[in-house]
């Protein structure tokens, strides 16, 4: 399956902003996080198609997965 992976803030350092990835069916968010060399603890916000997701969320074909460290503002 093909997903769009978007990285934000410090996660972009040495990586990329946006990339398409071909992944096996049934891959979850955690596997993507670990494949990037990130740890679970570093993940602040997971968004899957614009809604909040979990590390356990399973990905589907054509999903957009966005990963953010814990950041905030106002």
């Amino acid at each position: 399956m093909l997903i769009t992976l978007k990285l934000f803030a410090t996660f972009r350092n040495g990586r990329f902003k946006v990339a398409e990835q071909e992944l096996p069916e049934g891959t979850d968010v955690r596997a993507v996080v670990l494949s990037l060399g990130l740890t679970e603890e570093e993940i602040g916000i997971v968004m899957l198609n614009g809604r909040h997701g979990e590390l356990d969320s399973k990905l589907s074909d054509h999903d957009t997965l966005s990963l953010f460290p814990l950041v905030g503002g106002g």
Binding site: F8, L70, G72
Partner: protein, 576 residues
Amino acid sequence: MDKIFRVNMTDLTTKIEEVPAAWAGLGGRALTSTIVAAEVPPTCHALSAQNVLCFAPGLLTGTAAANSGRLSAGAKSPLTGGIKESNAGGTAAQMLAKLGIKALIIEGAPKSGTWYNLSVGINGVTINEEKELLGVGNFAVIDAVEQRLGKKTGVLTIGIAGELKMTAANISVKDPDSKIRSHGRGGLGAVMGSKQIKFISIDGEGSKPVTIADPEKFKTAARAFSKALLDHPVSGEGLPTYGTNVLVNILNEAGGLPTRNFTTGQFEGHDKISGETMHDTIAARGGKVKHGCHAGCIIQCSQVYNDKDGKYVTSGFEYETIWGLGADCCIDNLDDIARADNLMDDIGIDSIETAVMFGVAMEAGILNWGDSKEMLRLLTEEIGKGTALGRILGGGAGSVGRTYGVTRVPVVKNQAIPAYDPRSVKGIGITYATSTMGADHTSGYTIATNILNVGGYVDPLKKDGQVELSRNLQIATAAVDSTGMCIFVAFPALDIPECLPALIDMINARFGIALTGDDVTNLGKHVLKLERKFNQEAGLTNVHDRLPDFFKNEPVAPHNAVWDFTDAEIDEFWNF
């Protein structure tokens, strides 16, 4: 001992008063709102002599407590018609606190057309006629005051917008680099203009460190508090790196970034105006990525933004301004937005109200979507010169909507709705609706829990739990706004168990008292109820605690969310 400095602009007299016993335990917002409620007839015209403009440092301002340098300004708002507290950084709050000034109260208004400046010092206030600096922008006022009175002088000033009593006018505060922080919201600059005061200078000569009843206890608590601020990823890393503008990409992903005057929730040009892009641009051009708005700020969410030749353009460049001119007006040119930010500081006009106003003005056809050059011209040539069109624009989003017959006008109590769409981030909609201040994200920042996973998580697209979330945050915020603390201390306070007790310990050590967490919550509740009572007596009732109809009738992409709270559900907010 702390004193009240009082100025009467009708008879041009000043006096120093003892602090009434009932005000002794109050500071910041709790004190300014108490003064306004006690001394302003709620139904008066906000630009009349009956209104009172007051300034108060917070309970911890002037101490070594990190991030405690915020100044509260209060009055009846000419924009909302209700009570207003607006707080800002800069150097004035700490100077006032160290001079032993618990509050500066300005009442009355001159009967003649003469303009004045006020000089505040340890021995009181003097009222001086002002001729030279009328019609002058804020940056030039700060320069001139420093030349007259010295580099260390504190300055509170109004620009052209305040002189002309535009309801979007703000009050500017000199920051540690002689640039500007603002009491932005609610038109307090127009109130200062109505009293015909161009600027207030503060002379710190003779000031002393504020007294601490229990210095050892204070030091221990202050250390624990600072540690919490630095340990939390939001206040310790995200904010100093990317500033508040880190939110552009997050809200865009969540579909809550109001775009094209709140017609959709995502902006195509989001990455060009994002915090990540801003960070890289500032670093490449030799600006400052980190910057504090007041001495003792350890979060440093501010920055200095240079142009491509490395020349200063603006500082204190905030998410709300960048979102408003960016996504909401479809401008994807960060340099032009930065120029506008600097112009708004100089003219002395709220950058949220004005940015949202431009979205309504584009809807009205006054200028085209995304036309940043015309936006800069309107700021300089119309608002900055006080033309007839400039005064309509300077009246804010509601003013332009009424004048040009626009129906999609994002305001509550006539104050512009900031940078989060209430249909796709429902908790903040409850805050916009119920805030005593008119639409205001800072009065109960549910984005923390709706979007950022700080203080737990409440699904932004569902109604469940939003009223309670907004209520709890508004109560806590009213208390924090009374301490002189920056509201961003809320991020660690929501997640790190040692943070809030350390804050309370600092207050107790400062005054030799024994407040508990419940006392602090009760202070927040008391402030909200006091402010609401004033608003009700001014004519703002439950029917004003509502969002504009278009939020109910127009689903917002990408989630096709609508504002679906019933009136009764919103009114539940006040059940405490």
